[in-house]
Protein backbone atom coordinates (compact mmCIF):
# COMPACT_ATOMS: atom_id res chain seq x y z
CA UNK A 1 0.00 0.00 0.00
CA UNK A 2 1.28 3.48 -0.78
CA UNK A 3 -0.34 6.76 0.06
CA UNK A 4 -0.98 9.44 -2.53
CA UNK A 5 0.11 12.62 -0.80
CA UNK A 6 -0.01 16.30 -1.65
CA UNK A 7 3.73 17.14 -1.57
CA UNK A 8 4.81 18.84 1.64
CA UNK A 9 5.91 22.40 0.99
CA UNK A 10 4.30 22.54 -2.44
CA UNK A 11 2.90 25.97 -1.70
CA UNK A 12 3.04 28.61 1.01
CA UNK A 13 -0.05 28.02 3.16
CA UNK A 14 0.51 31.41 4.75
CA UNK A 15 -0.41 32.96 1.40
CA UNK A 16 -2.83 30.35 0.06
CA UNK A 17 -4.34 28.26 2.86
CA UNK A 18 -5.93 25.55 0.75
CA UNK A 19 -6.22 23.93 -2.64
CA UNK A 20 -8.72 21.52 -4.08
CA UNK A 21 -8.70 18.18 -5.84
CA UNK A 22 -9.80 19.34 -9.28
CA UNK A 23 -10.01 15.92 -10.88
CA UNK A 24 -9.50 12.20 -10.46
CA UNK A 25 -8.51 10.49 -13.68
CA UNK A 26 -9.26 6.96 -12.46
CA UNK A 27 -12.32 5.64 -10.67
CA UNK A 28 -12.29 4.67 -7.03
CA UNK A 29 -11.48 0.97 -6.89
CA UNK A 30 -9.99 0.96 -10.38
CA UNK A 31 -6.57 -0.34 -11.34
CA UNK A 32 -3.83 2.20 -12.01
CA UNK A 33 -0.37 1.68 -13.47
CA UNK A 34 2.71 2.93 -11.60
CA UNK A 35 3.55 6.52 -12.43
CA UNK A 36 0.22 7.26 -14.10
CA UNK A 37 -1.30 10.67 -13.46
CA UNK A 38 -4.19 9.86 -11.17
CA UNK A 39 -5.28 13.25 -9.87
CA UNK A 40 -5.01 16.95 -10.49
CA UNK A 41 -4.90 19.64 -7.83
CA UNK A 42 -5.79 23.29 -8.27
CA UNK A 43 -4.04 25.91 -6.16
CA UNK A 44 -3.67 29.64 -6.87
CA UNK A 45 -4.17 29.36 -10.64
CA UNK A 46 -1.85 26.35 -10.69
CA UNK A 47 -2.77 22.87 -11.81
CA UNK A 48 -0.63 20.11 -10.30
CA UNK A 49 -0.70 16.55 -11.57
CA UNK A 50 -0.16 13.77 -9.03
CA UNK A 51 1.22 10.38 -10.04
CA UNK A 52 0.46 6.93 -8.66
CA UNK A 53 3.37 5.91 -6.41
CA UNK A 54 3.00 2.32 -7.60
CA UNK A 55 0.64 0.21 -9.63
CA UNK A 56 -2.43 -1.38 -8.08
CA UNK A 57 -5.93 -0.60 -6.93
CA UNK A 58 -6.82 3.03 -6.31
CA UNK A 59 -8.70 4.09 -3.19
CA UNK A 60 -9.81 7.72 -3.16
CA UNK A 61 -9.79 9.46 0.23
CA UNK A 62 -10.55 13.03 -0.86
CA UNK A 63 -13.21 13.35 -3.52
CA UNK A 64 -13.19 15.77 -6.43
CA UNK A 65 -13.56 19.39 -5.21
CA UNK A 66 -12.37 18.33 -1.76
CA UNK A 67 -10.10 20.72 0.12
CA UNK A 68 -6.42 19.81 0.58
CA UNK A 69 -3.22 21.18 2.07
CA UNK A 70 0.41 20.12 1.63
CA UNK A 71 0.78 16.74 3.30
CA UNK A 72 -2.85 15.70 2.87
CA UNK A 73 -3.29 12.03 1.96
CA UNK A 74 -5.81 12.13 -0.89
CA UNK A 75 -5.82 8.41 -1.58
CA UNK A 76 -3.79 5.22 -1.65
CA UNK A 77 -2.82 2.51 -4.07
CA UNK A 78 -2.87 -1.10 -2.88
CA UNK A 79 -0.52 -3.33 -4.80
CA UNK A 80 -2.41 -5.81 -6.92
Amino acid sequence: MANIVVPIGLWDTGKTPEGIVANWFYADGGDVPAGATVAELMVEKSTFEIAAPNGGRLHIAVAKDGVVKPGTVIGRVDRA
Binding site: K15, N23, T37, M42, V43, E44, K45, S46, E49
Partner: protein, 281 residues
Protein backbone atom coordinates in the same frame (compact mmCIF):
# COMPACT_ATOMS: atom_id res chain seq x y z
CA UNK B 1 4.38 23.17 -35.39
CA UNK B 2 7.65 23.15 -37.27
CA UNK B 3 10.20 25.60 -35.98
CA UNK B 4 13.18 26.59 -38.06
CA UNK B 5 16.35 27.21 -36.03
CA UNK B 6 16.57 30.82 -37.15
CA UNK B 7 13.19 31.72 -35.75
CA UNK B 8 13.10 29.51 -32.72
CA UNK B 9 11.72 31.44 -29.80
CA UNK B 10 12.94 29.37 -26.92
CA UNK B 11 16.15 29.83 -25.08
CA UNK B 12 17.84 28.30 -22.12
CA UNK B 13 18.22 30.57 -19.10
CA UNK B 14 20.49 30.73 -16.13
CA UNK B 15 24.14 30.40 -15.19
CA UNK B 16 26.31 29.11 -17.97
CA UNK B 17 23.51 27.27 -19.66
CA UNK B 18 24.45 27.46 -23.30
CA UNK B 19 22.60 24.56 -24.83
CA UNK B 20 19.68 26.70 -25.94
CA UNK B 21 19.41 27.22 -29.65
CA UNK B 22 19.75 30.97 -29.22
CA UNK B 23 22.28 30.61 -26.47
CA UNK B 24 25.10 32.46 -28.17
CA UNK B 25 23.23 35.76 -28.04
CA UNK B 26 20.74 37.52 -25.84
CA UNK B 27 18.33 37.71 -28.74
CA UNK B 28 15.09 35.93 -28.10
CA UNK B 29 12.85 36.13 -31.08
CA UNK B 30 9.12 36.40 -30.88
CA UNK B 31 7.19 33.61 -32.50
CA UNK B 32 4.01 34.54 -34.30
CA UNK B 33 1.30 31.94 -34.76
CA UNK B 34 -1.54 32.03 -37.24
CA UNK B 35 -3.96 30.89 -34.57
CA UNK B 36 -3.89 30.92 -30.80
CA UNK B 37 -4.41 27.19 -30.52
CA UNK B 38 -1.09 26.59 -32.27
CA UNK B 39 0.65 28.93 -29.87
CA UNK B 40 -0.96 27.31 -26.87
CA UNK B 41 0.05 23.88 -28.15
CA UNK B 42 3.64 25.06 -28.54
CA UNK B 43 3.59 26.40 -24.99
CA UNK B 44 2.23 23.15 -23.62
CA UNK B 45 4.98 21.17 -25.36
CA UNK B 46 7.69 23.35 -23.83
CA UNK B 47 7.86 21.25 -20.65
CA UNK B 48 8.76 18.23 -22.76
CA UNK B 49 11.90 20.00 -23.98
CA UNK B 50 13.51 20.76 -20.64
CA UNK B 51 16.38 18.45 -19.73
CA UNK B 52 19.52 18.30 -17.60
CA UNK B 53 21.23 20.39 -20.28
CA UNK B 54 18.36 22.85 -20.62
CA UNK B 55 16.73 22.88 -17.19
CA UNK B 56 14.82 26.07 -17.96
CA UNK B 57 13.37 27.30 -21.23
CA UNK B 58 11.68 30.55 -22.11
CA UNK B 59 9.18 30.99 -24.92
CA UNK B 60 7.73 34.22 -26.28
CA UNK B 61 4.80 34.05 -28.63
CA UNK B 62 1.92 36.01 -30.07
CA UNK B 63 -1.30 35.08 -31.84
CA UNK B 64 -4.56 36.63 -33.06
CA UNK B 65 -7.47 37.11 -30.72
CA UNK B 66 -8.71 34.28 -28.54
CA UNK B 67 -10.11 33.81 -25.08
CA UNK B 68 -8.08 31.25 -23.16
CA UNK B 69 -9.91 29.77 -20.19
CA UNK B 70 -8.86 27.47 -17.37
CA UNK B 71 -10.21 23.95 -16.91
CA UNK B 72 -12.76 25.05 -14.29
CA UNK B 73 -14.38 27.52 -16.70
CA UNK B 74 -14.88 24.73 -19.20
CA UNK B 75 -17.22 23.09 -16.68
CA UNK B 76 -19.59 26.07 -16.47
CA UNK B 77 -23.19 25.04 -17.24
CA UNK B 78 -23.51 26.84 -20.58
CA UNK B 79 -19.90 26.70 -21.66
CA UNK B 80 -20.73 25.43 -25.15
CA UNK B 81 -23.19 28.27 -25.72
CA UNK B 82 -20.52 30.75 -24.72
CA UNK B 83 -18.00 29.18 -27.08
CA UNK B 84 -20.42 29.49 -30.00
CA UNK B 85 -21.36 33.06 -29.13
CA UNK B 86 -17.78 34.26 -28.76
CA UNK B 87 -16.61 32.48 -31.89
CA UNK B 88 -19.27 34.37 -33.83
CA UNK B 89 -17.80 37.61 -32.51
CA UNK B 90 -14.26 36.70 -33.55
CA UNK B 91 -13.06 35.35 -30.23
CA UNK B 92 -12.42 31.60 -30.35
CA UNK B 93 -12.38 30.04 -26.90
CA UNK B 94 -9.52 27.71 -25.96
CA UNK B 95 -8.97 25.66 -22.81
CA UNK B 96 -5.50 25.77 -21.30
CA UNK B 97 -4.02 23.25 -18.86
CA UNK B 98 -3.04 25.81 -16.25
CA UNK B 99 -5.50 27.16 -13.71
CA UNK B 100 -7.40 30.41 -13.37
CA UNK B 101 -10.14 32.17 -15.27
CA UNK B 102 -10.70 33.60 -18.73
CA UNK B 103 -7.79 35.51 -20.25
CA UNK B 104 -8.08 37.34 -23.58
CA UNK B 105 -5.06 37.35 -25.88
CA UNK B 106 -4.38 39.12 -29.17
CA UNK B 107 -1.53 40.40 -31.30
CA UNK B 108 -1.40 43.28 -28.84
CA UNK B 109 -0.48 40.95 -25.99
CA UNK B 110 2.72 39.03 -25.42
CA UNK B 111 2.65 35.44 -24.19
CA UNK B 112 5.61 34.49 -22.01
CA UNK B 113 6.18 30.92 -20.82
CA UNK B 114 8.97 29.68 -18.57
CA UNK B 115 9.31 25.90 -18.26
CA UNK B 116 11.65 24.30 -15.75
CA UNK B 117 12.46 21.05 -14.09
CA UNK B 118 11.08 21.16 -10.56
CA UNK B 119 13.71 20.51 -7.93
CA UNK B 120 12.66 19.29 -4.47
CA UNK B 121 12.86 22.92 -3.34
CA UNK B 122 10.64 24.29 -6.09
CA UNK B 123 7.28 25.50 -4.86
CA UNK B 124 4.28 26.99 -6.62
CA UNK B 125 5.12 30.39 -5.18
CA UNK B 126 8.81 30.15 -6.09
CA UNK B 127 7.98 29.29 -9.68
CA UNK B 128 5.64 32.29 -9.94
CA UNK B 129 8.26 34.57 -8.44
CA UNK B 130 10.83 33.25 -10.90
CA UNK B 131 8.78 34.69 -13.75
CA UNK B 132 7.70 37.90 -12.03
CA UNK B 133 11.39 38.48 -11.26
CA UNK B 134 11.99 38.54 -15.00
CA UNK B 135 8.99 40.67 -15.97
CA UNK B 136 9.05 43.24 -13.17
CA UNK B 137 12.58 44.55 -13.83
CA UNK B 138 11.76 44.82 -17.52
CA UNK B 139 8.78 47.04 -16.73
CA UNK B 140 10.95 49.05 -14.35
CA UNK B 141 13.47 49.53 -17.14
CA UNK B 142 10.76 51.52 -18.92
CA UNK B 143 10.27 53.64 -15.83
CA UNK B 144 7.11 51.82 -14.78
CA UNK B 145 6.52 50.76 -11.19
CA UNK B 146 5.14 47.23 -11.20
CA UNK B 147 3.21 45.77 -8.30
CA UNK B 148 2.69 42.06 -7.72
CA UNK B 149 -0.66 41.49 -6.06
CA UNK B 150 -4.17 40.42 -6.87
CA UNK B 151 -5.98 43.09 -8.85
CA UNK B 152 -9.66 42.95 -7.83
CA UNK B 153 -12.08 43.28 -10.72
CA UNK B 154 -9.55 42.29 -13.37
CA UNK B 155 -9.86 39.25 -15.64
CA UNK B 156 -8.43 36.02 -14.22
CA UNK B 157 -7.40 37.54 -10.89
CA UNK B 158 -4.61 35.94 -8.89
CA UNK B 159 -1.99 36.63 -6.26
CA UNK B 160 0.71 37.09 -8.89
CA UNK B 161 -1.08 39.64 -11.04
CA UNK B 162 1.27 42.37 -12.27
CA UNK B 163 -0.19 45.86 -12.13
CA UNK B 164 1.04 49.26 -13.24
CA UNK B 165 -0.67 52.40 -11.96
CA UNK B 166 -3.30 50.26 -10.24
CA UNK B 167 -4.30 48.40 -13.40
CA UNK B 168 -3.52 44.82 -14.26
CA UNK B 169 -1.19 44.49 -17.22
CA UNK B 170 -0.20 40.86 -16.79
CA UNK B 171 -1.66 37.68 -15.37
CA UNK B 172 0.17 34.48 -14.54
CA UNK B 173 -0.88 30.85 -14.34
CA UNK B 174 0.94 27.59 -13.89
CA UNK B 175 0.88 23.93 -14.84
CA UNK B 176 2.84 21.11 -13.17
CA UNK B 177 3.13 17.82 -14.94
CA UNK B 178 5.25 14.71 -15.20
CA UNK B 179 7.39 14.80 -18.27
CA UNK B 180 10.04 12.29 -19.32
CA UNK B 181 10.17 10.93 -15.79
CA UNK B 182 10.56 14.30 -14.14
CA UNK B 183 8.22 16.82 -12.62
CA UNK B 184 8.16 20.01 -14.66
CA UNK B 185 6.45 23.31 -14.09
CA UNK B 186 5.48 25.80 -16.75
CA UNK B 187 4.61 29.29 -15.59
CA UNK B 188 2.90 31.41 -18.23
CA UNK B 189 2.11 35.11 -18.40
CA UNK B 190 -0.04 37.23 -20.66
CA UNK B 191 1.28 40.79 -20.86
CA UNK B 192 -0.97 43.44 -22.39
CA UNK B 193 0.98 45.89 -24.54
CA UNK B 194 -1.66 47.56 -26.63
CA UNK B 195 -5.24 46.45 -26.60
CA UNK B 196 -8.58 48.14 -26.13
CA UNK B 197 -9.22 47.47 -22.46
CA UNK B 198 -12.94 48.04 -22.87
CA UNK B 199 -13.05 45.25 -25.43
CA UNK B 200 -11.00 43.02 -23.15
CA UNK B 201 -13.44 43.51 -20.28
CA UNK B 202 -16.41 43.17 -22.61
CA UNK B 203 -15.34 39.82 -24.04
CA UNK B 204 -14.59 38.39 -20.59
CA UNK B 205 -17.99 39.51 -19.31
CA UNK B 206 -19.71 38.23 -22.42
CA UNK B 207 -18.14 34.82 -21.86
CA UNK B 208 -19.19 34.53 -18.23
CA UNK B 209 -22.68 35.85 -18.88
CA UNK B 210 -23.21 33.35 -21.70
CA UNK B 211 -21.56 30.44 -19.85
CA UNK B 212 -23.48 30.93 -16.63
CA UNK B 213 -20.50 32.04 -14.59
CA UNK B 214 -20.48 34.69 -11.89
CA UNK B 215 -17.10 36.30 -12.52
CA UNK B 216 -17.02 39.77 -13.99
CA UNK B 217 -14.29 42.06 -15.28
CA UNK B 218 -14.05 45.83 -14.88
CA UNK B 219 -12.44 48.02 -17.52
CA UNK B 220 -10.95 50.21 -14.82
CA UNK B 221 -8.99 47.26 -13.42
CA UNK B 222 -7.13 46.57 -16.68
CA UNK B 223 -4.28 48.47 -18.25
CA UNK B 224 -2.03 48.30 -21.29
CA UNK B 225 1.67 49.10 -21.27
CA UNK B 226 1.44 51.45 -24.23
CA UNK B 227 -0.82 53.85 -22.33
CA UNK B 228 1.53 53.86 -19.34
CA UNK B 229 4.71 54.60 -21.28
CA UNK B 230 6.09 58.12 -21.68
CA UNK B 231 4.75 59.87 -24.76
CA UNK B 232 8.24 60.44 -26.12
CA UNK B 233 9.23 56.80 -25.88
CA UNK B 234 11.85 56.16 -28.53
CA UNK B 235 10.76 52.59 -29.10
CA UNK B 236 7.34 53.60 -30.27
CA UNK B 237 7.52 51.79 -33.60
CA UNK B 238 8.57 48.43 -32.23
CA UNK B 239 7.55 48.16 -28.62
CA UNK B 240 6.92 44.43 -28.90
CA UNK B 241 10.38 43.79 -30.32
CA UNK B 242 12.03 46.00 -27.75
CA UNK B 243 10.14 44.29 -24.95
CA UNK B 244 11.21 40.83 -26.15
CA UNK B 245 14.82 41.96 -26.24
CA UNK B 246 14.63 43.26 -22.67
CA UNK B 247 12.96 40.08 -21.44
CA UNK B 248 15.76 38.04 -22.99
CA UNK B 249 18.33 40.17 -21.22
CA UNK B 250 16.51 39.94 -17.91
CA UNK B 251 16.17 36.17 -18.24
CA UNK B 252 19.89 35.88 -18.82
CA UNK B 253 20.77 38.18 -15.96
CA UNK B 254 22.56 40.58 -18.27
CA UNK B 255 21.27 43.54 -16.29
CA UNK B 256 22.51 42.28 -12.98
CA UNK B 257 25.09 45.09 -12.71
CA UNK B 258 22.74 47.79 -13.87
CA UNK B 259 21.97 49.85 -10.75
CA UNK B 260 18.95 51.45 -12.39
CA UNK B 261 16.69 48.51 -12.32
CA UNK B 262 17.90 45.44 -10.58
CA UNK B 263 15.64 44.35 -7.75
CA UNK B 264 16.21 40.65 -7.69
CA UNK B 265 19.27 38.42 -7.80
CA UNK B 266 20.16 37.33 -11.30
CA UNK B 267 20.73 34.87 -12.66
CA UNK B 268 18.64 32.41 -10.79
CA UNK B 269 20.59 29.36 -9.68
CA UNK B 270 20.74 26.46 -12.02
CA UNK B 271 18.55 23.70 -10.70
CA UNK B 272 19.81 20.17 -10.30
CA UNK B 273 18.16 17.51 -12.40
CA UNK B 274 15.77 15.65 -10.18
CA UNK B 275 14.31 12.34 -11.20
CA UNK B 276 11.03 11.91 -9.42
CA UNK B 277 9.93 8.61 -10.83
CA UNK B 278 12.03 5.51 -10.83
CA UNK B 279 10.06 2.49 -11.94
CA UNK B 280 12.81 0.16 -10.66
CA UNK B 281 12.17 1.12 -7.05
Amino acid sequence: VSIAPDIVSTMATGDGVTAGRDAATSKLSLQDFETADLGLLRQQHLAGEVSCHQPRLLLLWRAPRALIVGPSDSRLPDFNIAVTRLFAKGWPVLIRRSGGGACPISTGTLQIALARIASPETTIDAAYIELTDIIRPVLESYGLKAEIREQPGAFCPGRYDISVNGRKVAGLSQHWRQCNGRITVTTAATLILEEDTEKVAHVVNLFYLAAGGTRRCSTSAIGALRQDLPVDAAFDASLMEDLCSRIAKAARGEWRDDPRRISAPYPLPRVPCHKTIDPDH
